[in-house]
């Protein structure tokens, strides 16, 4: 990708004559008009009916979430992500039909949602399986891995989730920033080693986030195209940050040496990228905690803390030589760490796989943009850049460190 801003007027054929522009508009619209005609033919004459004959309806219901607001009460949140309306005929919990109520119609239209409430004596700490039976006898299952009362948005739980976010997001990043005095005094050669190490950390983090986004995309109802959301989110955040960075450097040309302001800008960009990533991570942790999918023991918190401490290093490395005021460091720590708290709130109280996929993908794209940013900065300062032997070693080491700390996070 080129980060050279285009000079105005350089695009070929960008100045059509006035008389030709009308014709050009027409040429642009012609395919659209034809498409409209095709749609009209299909809607009114239905030539596709020959393809459809005799097939049973394709039904696709997704249980996005099962909440347990109080003992004896269960709520099933359903989305119809299939091509046709689906009628929920019966609800089974743990292989038993169960009386229930649906808010609204039993027939859920395409892309429609419904909430099913039932009085079921769920058992704290044990798994339960929920199955919806459609009018055609198809079944759609969802497992509550560990039943635990779903938190309500109360002050107490906002507090608990905030604490969770602080533990796994804010504190580790701030601790990581404390590498600043150490990095301040190393030579440029070794600074580049640590920058490469940072890149290693981030590449690992980015790949991990991308993988998580794709995993979550798997449970997104088909119509909402989980993988499409990942591409949109990741590429979107990458390009947005890229545009932001280009606009900032735009006036000076790509090969100009960085000054302290540039490097501070890059550090802020990294903080922003990591913040976006931590938003997705917080969301995943918050929802898993709320749904009882992970028991958040102190071991896991320690794991996340170790894992995320490295993020502080990534922020501080580019500006280490510049001795920026402490307020900048604190601000960057906040930008990187605080979104974790927002993420745990969103995930804890209103989890949806669609939002989670998008957030995780946005985080992944942001992280990878940050990688690009640091690599470009290094190349400007040292021609061999990332591929100088010492730097390559740093890169590999960074990924290894991440691999090691990630071992602690596996719940």
């Amino acid at each position: 990708m080129s980060d050279a801003p285009r000079s105005p007027g350089s695009a070929p054929g960008s100045e059509p004559g006035r008389g030709r522009s009308g014709r050009r508009v027409l040429l642009g619209l012609a395919p659209l008009l034809l498409l409209g005609a095709l749609v009209a033919v299909f809607v009114f004459a239905d030539p596709a009916s020959v393809l459809r004959a005799g097939f049973p309806p394709i039904e696709e219901l997704t249980i996005e979430r099962v909440t347990l607001p109080e003992p004896g009460l269960m709520r099933i949140h359903v989305v119809n992500g299939g091509p046709e309306a689906v009628t929920v005929a019966q609800v089974m919990v743990d292989d038993a039909y169960w009386q229930h109520e649906i808010d609204g119609e039993r027939t859920i239209p395409r892309l429609g949602r419904a909430t099913i409430a039932l009085n079921y004596p769920w058992v704290e700490g044990e798994p339960h399986e929920v199955v919806l039976v459609s009018s055609t006898g198809l079944t759609f299952a969802h497992e509550v891995e560990v039943a635990t009362q779903t938190p309500r948005p109360s002050a107490r739980f906002f507090g608990i989730f905030a604490l969770l976010g602080i533990y796994v997001g804010l504190v580790p990043v701030l601790i990581g920033l404390l590498w600043y005095p150490f990095l301040r005094d190393v030579s440029r050669r070794w600074l580049h080693f640590f920058l490469s190490l940072t890149i290693g950390l981030l590449v690992f983090l980015g790949a991990d986030a991308l993988n998580e986004a794709l995993e979550t995309a798997d449970v997104v109802p088909e119509a909402f195209q989980g993988v499409g959301l990942v591409v949109l989110g990741a590429l979107g955040s990458f390009l947005a940050l890229r545009a932001l960075s280009s606009a900032r450097r735009g006036r000076r040309g790509p090969e100009a040496e960085d000054d302290a302001t540039d490097r501070l800008g890059i550090a802020y960009l990294i903080a922003l990228g990591i913040g976006l990533h931590n938003l997705g991570e917080g969301l995943a942790i918050g929802s898993a905690y709320a749904l009882g999918e992970i028991a958040l023991g102190s071991f896991l918190v320690i794991g996340f803390a170790l894992h995320n401490t490295t993020e502080g290093l990534a922020i501080v490395a580019p500006v280490a030589a510049d001795r920026p005021p402490i307020r900048h460091l604190l601000a960057m720590g906040a930008i990187a760490g605080l979104p974790t708290i927002a993420g745990t709130w969103i995930g804890g109280f209103s989890y949806s796989p669609i939002a989670a996929t998008l957030f995780l993908a946005v985080g992944a794209g942001a992280i990878l943009e940050v990688v690009y940013e640091i690599a470009a900065m290094m190349r400007r300062q040292q021609p061999a850049g990332l591929f100088a032997p010492l730097n390559a070693t740093g890169l590999a080491l960074g990924m290894l460190v991440m691999y090691g700390t990630a071992l602690l996070v596996v719940a």
Binding site: A89, M92, Y97, W98, Q99, N119, T139
Partner: protein, 359 residues
């Protein structure tokens, strides 16, 4: 939403009447308003005994919505619907019974709102209950109006050529099975075209009752076919029932008289699960395996039947009220094989139900 802990009985009865009934028509009150069930619940003291949503669930189990099936199948009538065939006599003076059975594809409603693409004998599942006396000549004219090859394989003693394995009756073709009925007892019949599992679980089965010469003692006689439906075709049943309609006899208890002799012809045609069972609450019954030996029975309240196994249950209920009857596999019970027999004092014989009339 309903909070079981915090609601008074009055509150939730109101809810039962307005909330749940308004949505689903399944509350006790709605239930009680209907003819048959009302009397049953009242005299059984059930309405008074219900104090909480948990107890309502206990009575009603879980199924949503109301019966009877919208496909026209009447589970109440099926209990007593014996088909004696067209009766004539041959030159030797032997009773000849002729039946018409047609295999047709048909959607049936196996639980409220759940439709199943069945293969049926005479448009319903189970197929007709054929009834005859040992030694009668049976002539069953079978025609296949379905989309796949079918047969009718009868259990019992007969020439192998009449066994319903060969010939396979292709769609549009006919075949007449002819054999003398024996031995007396209760026997299943079912399609024997391959793949067997699919042909049976899609609904091609029924009951053949062969009475001993001179008949059995007078009793209120019922047919119960234990079956299941794999609605999503994953090789496991989603719905279990007796006589196809899941939970039907739970909300429409089977009425019998207190002390009245009751005889149940019980057949297990459940696919996939090796065994099914029947358990009677608050009473014991005499169980005659296969119904072939009137002098040999077991006194019990729980029996277990393999696929294709059958027998005769005889009982007299001593106390009035609702007697639960269900599979003792709790899973089957909670997936539909759940019912009540309601013992009513002084139930008139003409109350919809004949004491066994013998033709």
């Amino acid at each position: 939403m309903m909070g079981p802990k915090t609601m008074s009985r009055r509150d939730w009865l109101k809810l039962g009447g307005v909330g749940v009934a308004g949505l689903s028509g399944t509350s006790v009150l709605a239930l009680a308003r209907r003819g048959g069930a009302a009397a049953a619940l009242e005299h059984a003291g059930v309405q008074e005994a219900i104090h909480s949503p948990t107890e309502l669930a206990q009575l009603r189990m879980g199924v949503f919505g109301d019966h009877p099936p919208a496909d026209g199948f009447d589970p109440d009538a099926f209990l007593f619907d014996f088909d004696y065939g067209d009766v004539s006599r041959d030159e030797a003076g032997r009773t000849v019974r002729e039946y018409e059975i047609v295999a047709v594809d048909r959607e049936i409603e196996v639980a409220p709102g759940v439709w199943f693409p069945a293969w049926t004998y005479n448009g319903r599942v189970p197929g007709p209950t054929l009834r005859c006396t040992e030694g009668d000549l049976l002539r069953i004219r079978f025609s296949n109006a379905g989309s796949h090859p079918h047969t009718i394989h009868f259990h019992g003693t007969h020439p192998p050529a009449m066994d319903g394995v060969f010939p396979i009756v292709e769609p549009g073709e006919r075949f007449t099975y002819e054999f003398p009925a024996k031995p007396f007892g209760v026997h299943p019949y079912h399609c024997h075209a391959i793949p067997l599992k699919r042909h049976i679980h899609k609904g091609l089965y029924g009951t053949l009752i062969v009475d001993p010469p001179g008949g059995r003692s007078p009793a209120r006689e019922l047919v119960m076919v234990m079956n299941g439906f794999d609605t999503n075709f994953d090789g496991e049943n989603e719905v279990y029932a007796v006589n196809t309609a899941a939970f039907y006899y739970q909300t429409h208890p089977i009425r019998v008289g207190v002390g009245e002799p009751v005889r149940i012809y019980l057949v297990n045609l459940t696919e996939f699960d090796p065994i099914n069972s029947l358990h009677l609450h608050a009473g014991m019954f005499r169980y005659y395996r296969t119904g072939t030996r009137p002098d040999q029975y077991e006194l019990t309240d729980t029996i277990m039947l393999c696929q294709g196994e059958r027998g005769i249950v005889e009982l007299e209920l001593e106390n009035p009220g609702l007697h639960m009857v269900h599979a003792h596999q709790s899973e089957f019970a909670e997936l539909g094989w759940m019912s009540f027999i309601d013992a009513v004092p002084h139930l008139a014989a003409e109350d919809g139900v004949p004491v066994h009339r013998y033709v």
